[in-house]
């Protein structure tokens, strides 16, 4: 056939495009469910009326408390409040035996990064959403997706494998170039030692 060579070539081309854009991201990440189902929406909704900083505290010293320790949960859930299955699991598996919940942190940065929440929240007045998106409004915790090669969380690269996001009003991804471009945009220091101390 006259064009058989071109057909084979473009077939290979198309197959690879499909593999690269659809299959590769699935293959790249390993999903692990969080140890417990947790609804940010319920906690920040009208009923509970909590704010992000009620649990994710900035200590008096200026350091960030990160994911709340068990005692924060136990403060309200020492005894069943709602009687839901996740709450029962929380009490039986963690609160009663006094065992910390091994949360998998979506936004965990590598060890060589020094990130100050205090600087970004208090000085730059950034909203949590700016970096963490709508996480505070979600009803369930999505599985933690770990890059099989680098070991980083998917959130570091960003949700889109192309790293192109349209009209989301926030940065998608937490790579060094995301930090640097935001710093440049806001005309704040982007020297190495600002983050690598």
């Amino acid at each position: 056939m006259k064009h058989s060579g071109k057909i084979s070539f473009f077939a290979g081309f198309a197959v690879m495009l499909a593999v690269g854009w659809a299959g590769f991201p699935r293959l790249l990440y390993r999903g692990t469910p969080q140890p417990l189902s947790f609804s940010h929406k319920v906690h920040t909704g009208e009923k509970a009326g909590m704010k992000c900083e009620d649990c994710h505290v900035l200590r008096a010293s200026g350091s960030f408390g990160g994911v709340p320790a068990l005692e924060s949960c136990a403060g309200c859930h020492a005894a069943p409040m709602t009687g839901t299955a996740p709450e029962k699991r929380l009490i039986d598996n963690y609160v009663t035996p006094n065992r910390e919940i091994p949360w998998l942190i979506y936004s965990r940065q590598p060890d060589n990064v020094y990130f100050s929440h205090a600087n970004h929240i208090r000085l730059a007045k950034l909203a949590c959403k700016q970096c963490h998106g709508d996480h505070g409004d979600t009803d369930t915790l999505r599985p933690y997706q770990e890059d099989r090669v680098s070991g980083y969380s998917k959130d570091i690269w960003g949700s889109s494998i192309s790293r192109i996001s349209f009209g989301r009003g926030r940065r998608d991804g937490m790579r060094m170039d995301d930090c640097v471009s935001c710093h440049r945009e806001h005309k704040v220091s982007d020297s190495c030692l600002a983050c690598h101390k």
């Binding site: 060579g5 070539f9 290979g12 198309a14 197959v15 690879m16 350091s63 090669v149 680098s150 101390k197």
Partner: protein, 669 residues
């Protein structure tokens, strides 16, 4: 359509081309780069709670308060403590990377012995007991006329007192201090008047600095910078150093002739140094006569002046004769020196006769100065035993027969005496933040074993704190929050001990009143005569080596000190400072010697030669070679040891001024 090999190749070609339009290659590139940073054998910090702990920096005499950010109890970054006047939030670059030092590539982990066997150096590990036995054997057989010497580069500590006691118990034991410690001018003032002296830089309106890197590694950086806006700074030195560049006035002076300017100033201020007219000063030192008159007028008009001549950490101290003159200048003006502080017990190693040390026990603390080994070596008897009680294999350890590892910075409870620029006496503890390595021995405790007088450093420190508490004097500044509590408000000495162990410093209150009255005619006369003697002795130049070599170093990066390789890499790559073994010369000198910027040359002194990289710099006076001796390749633990000499090695010890100016020759390599 036939399927064959060709079709398969076409399909593969299409796939390869298509792959370029997918994220696969690009993402894998990024991922594999990250992957290489996370190999399992690369040490990882433990995950854990992020906490703040406090300590005090012991890497140089400045005693800066330190805040450590710890992850899971491991310090991962150090910063200054903004809440205290001792630090004002500042640490120098060496201190900022101090938590790297326990992991320095040249860390000593086991005691070992270095012996020369058939002309080759053989190294054998041994236990601390065996090391002690080997030293005891040598001490028992110490030849007549030789002494056992404890070298303490950080005098003024409780440990120093322990050393003085132990020295008396060792066979012909001597306690000596570093040839150069910061605070030399004040120490001289104290020895001339008998009254301990401290300077109140915050109250000074004029500082005349003779070759002291006031803004670049002298005193406590945070305190100096906080006071900087209030005083006018006149910097007298042969090169446009960073301090000279940032001073209000830079006065270039021929190396070794600073005393001539001081004599001229003393003459104009007191009439004591008759004959030292501004014109004569100009002819000897190169300082224009009108500048001499101008500095004298400024000193006269100042309400609180300071004359500081502690020298550069890499440049060697001024001789005691010259220091007498600088001390006298402080007495001749309305000075910002106070009758305060604790008496300084210094006994520079120069006071010992040459070739008299049979066994030298080197303490781990560094004076911050880059003392060339030759300055110490000339005091050693042939076949003397050198014992380095340091956490590192380099520094003085490079020349030691026995190395007995000490705990590194942040690994054990240490103490911090009064900083050289402190306005009053001070004391702080440096509580450990990480566990010491097994096998590390506290130097004072090891020497106590040799002397047969067991000592536990922490017990002695506790006794000192009890004594402070008993006086009820002074106040304690807590690093967390800067809260100040008078000592009398601590009900028990345990309370005070606990506060100091959590990160705090004790300081004496500022005294009222000024230092001693005007200098006596006798004191002035003695100072003038000794300085004239020194100038006459230093005046001869060697025609074969017509250049004057002066050396500089970044504090606490040479001599017995080690520095984080990471920090050094950063500054070298950013070219913030000249690297070690570079020699800066004036464009005229470069033209005369036909040496080009970046070229290689051989620097020769009476003590040897070494290769240097030429830097042409108009900030160096003609006829002068300014060389960097620290950080060295050894102190950063980076390169395999330089088999040849370094610039520090070829600096000539000179009488009682260790190595300030050396006659040198420079030729193209």
């Amino acid at each position: 359509m036939n399927f064959g090999r060709r079709t398969l190749l076409q399909f593969a070609g299409g796939s390869a081309a298509g792959a370029l339009f997918t994220p696969i290659p690009w993402r894998l590139l990024w991922d594999s780069a990250v992957w290489t940073q996370n190999w399992s054998w690369i040490p990882k910090l433990p995950r854990g709670e992020v906490t703040e702990k406090f300590s005090t920096c012991t890497l140089c005499p400045a005693a800066c308060p330190v805040k450590a950010r710890c992850v899971g109890n491991q310090p991962v970054s150090l910063t200054g403590v903004a809440a205290t006047a001792e630090s004002n939030g500042a640490l120098c670059p060496v201190g900022l990377a101090g938590h790297h030092l326990p992991y320095h590539p040249k860390r000593a982990v086991l005691p070992f012995r270095r012996r020369s066997v058939n002309g080759k150096v053989a190294v054998s590990p041994l236990s601390a007991d065996e090391a002690a036995a080997a030293i005891a054997e040598r001490l028992n057989a110490l030849p007549a006329g030789q002494s056992t010497v404890i070298l303490d580069e950080r005098p003024g500590r409780v440990t120093s007192r322990i050393y003085q006691t132990l020295a008396a118990k060792l066979p012909r034991g001597e306690y000596v201090t570093s040839p150069q410690t910061e605070g030399g001018t004040l120490a001289k003032l104290e020895s001339l008047t008998g009254t301990p002296a401290a300077m109140n830089m915050a109250g000074a309106d004029l500082v005349v600095s003779f070759g002291t890197p006031l803004l670049d590694g002298w005193g406590t950086p945070g305190r100096v910078f906080a006071a900087r806006d209030r005083f006018r700074l006149i910097q007298v030195e042969p090169l446009l150093s960073r301090t000279a560049a940032a001073a209000d006035l830079w006065i270039p002076v021929y190396p070794g002739t600073e005393a001539a300017l001081a004599l001229g100033l003393l003459n104009l201020l007191t009439g004591a140094a008759s004959g030292w007219t501004p014109e004569k000063v100009q002819s000897v030192s190169g300082v224009p006569a009108e500048s001499v008159a101008r500095i004298a007028a400024e000193l006269k008009a100042a309400k609180a002046a300071l004359v500081i001549a502690d020298g550069d950490p890499g440049g060697g101290a001024f001789s005691p004769d010259e220091q007498s003159l600088f001390a006298a200048l402080n007495l001749a003006v309305d000075s910002a020196v106070h009758p305060c502080g604790v008496p300084r017990v210094t006994r520079p190693i120069e006071a010992l006769p040459d070739a008299s040390i049979g066994v030298l026990l080197c303490d781990a603390a560094s004076s911050g100065a880059g003392t060339p080994w030759r300055v110490i070596a000339r005091k050693l008897a042939p076949a003397a035993m050198v014992v380095s009680l340091s956490p590192f294999l380099e520094g003085y350890g490079r020349h030691a027969e026995l190395i007995v590892p000490a705990p590194a910075y942040l690994e054990s409870l240490q103490e911090v005496p009064t900083a050289p620029d402190a306005p009053a006496a001070g004391f702080a503890l440096a509580p450990p933040l990480i566990p010491a390595r097994p096998g590390a021995t506290e130097p004072a405790e090891f020497i106590a074993r040799l002397a047969g007088e067991p000592v536990t450093l922490s017990v002695e420190l506790k006794k000192h704190v009890e004594a402070l508490h008993a006086t009820g004097k002074g106040e304690v500044v807590r690093y967390a929050g800067g809260e100040v509590t008078p000592v009398k408000d601590f009900k028990t000495s345990d309370e005070l001990w606990n506060a100091l162990n959590q990160g705090a410093c004790w300081r004496q209150g500022l005294p009222a009143g000024m230092y001693a009255s005007k200098p006596s005619a006798r004191l002035l006369q003695a100072a003038v005569q000794s300085a004239e003697r020194r100038l006459a002795a230093g005046g001869q130049t060697d025609p074969a080596r017509p250049l004057m070599l002066i050396t500089t170093a970044w504090r606490a990066t040479a001599g017995n000190a080690q520095v984080s390789p990471l920090l050094t890499k950063l500054y070298q790559e950013s070219e913030l400072r000249e690297p070690g073994n570079s020699a800066a010369i004036h464009p005229d000198t470069s033209q005369k010697l036909n040496l080009k910027h970046g070229g290689q040359a051989i620097l020769t002194t009476a003590c040897g030669s070494c290769p240097v990289a030429i830097v042409v710099d108009a900030g160096v006076m003609p006829g002068v070679v300014s060389a960097v001796i620290g950080p060295t390749v050894d102190s950063i633990g980076a390169a395999p040891r330089n088999g040849g000499s370094t610039i520090g090695d070829i600096c000539a010890p000179d009488g009682d001024a260790p190595w300030r100016v050396t006659s040198a020759q420079l030729r193209r390599a």
